[in-house]
Symmetry: C2
Subunit: 150 residues, 2 copies
């Protein structure tokens, strides 16, 4: 689980970032903090189907700008959003961790505990940030598969 937080803490988060406390924003925050996987845009939209699509896009964008969440594309190129755990600042993210795409359940996991390995690029390339992607089976799905085989 990302981090258990209650509604007061979400309100504080919004306040700290000079964002008004609104229902849609609190609900998006609460949903994203309640999961240990990233949230796909389509998923978010179907769960919050009473909130206007455009509003959701704008909430996601402002949260990303503020350093509250970061965007990660899964293997099909669909946008997923996950809470930042790296003390990201406004317009200055540092979410340099592994993103694991489960090919079975399609969930995207942020493996924050895994540091990025240092590596030296070919001469001339100046990297500012790194992200590592992996795909395969997540713990749940690999267990399921093992069970099937038996």
């Amino acid at each position: 689980m990302a981090q258990i937080k209650n509604n007061y803490q979400f309100e504080d988060m919004l306040q700290k970032h000079n964002l008004k406390k609104t229902g849609p924003r609190l609900r998006v925050l609460s949903m994203m903090y309640s999961k240990n996987t990233a949230t796909s845009q389509p998923d978010l939209e179907s769960v919050m189907n009473d909130i206007d699509r455009v509003t959701l896009y704008r909430i996601l964008n402002v949260f990303e700008e503020k350093g509250i969440i970061h965007k990660v594309f899964d293997l099909n190129g669909t946008a997923n959003y996950a809470v930042c755990h790296s003390n990201c600042q406004e317009n200055h993210h540092h979410d340099e961790h592994l993103h694991f795409n489960c090919t079975a359940c399609k969930n995207v996991y942020c493996l924050n505990e895994l540091n990025m390995p240092r590596l030296n690029l070919p001469s001339g390339f100046e990297a500012q940030s790194f992200t590592l992607y992996a795909s395969g089976l997540c713990p749940k799905c690999s267990k399921k598969q093992a069970a099937k085989v038996n």
Copy 2:
């Protein structure tokens, strides 16, 4: 440059993969082999604007299936395509290298020479493939920037 190849070689490639030699396919091959960066779908479409959009999508898909090209999403989530250099087979790619996104010129470079570092995942995760993304300045753009500063 990916590899200099002439039209006869492209025809051979198609034949080897049991694909008919057609104008659109040869042109796509030729374009992608003439560059050392990946080709974005929008770019491809605007350059080959006399070929139907759907045909281009189908060419890209069949080339990917056959192991001729691989897809890589850039930092904005747009699809880019690059020729495979890892002896990829039909439905079995192994393009595990670094993809460098230049934030200035927006080009995507496949740095095939860079092997993926080994890393151990948290227990339970079973990775089948890895891709590393980096963003920053490519050699050309970092030179330009250095020139400006002076």
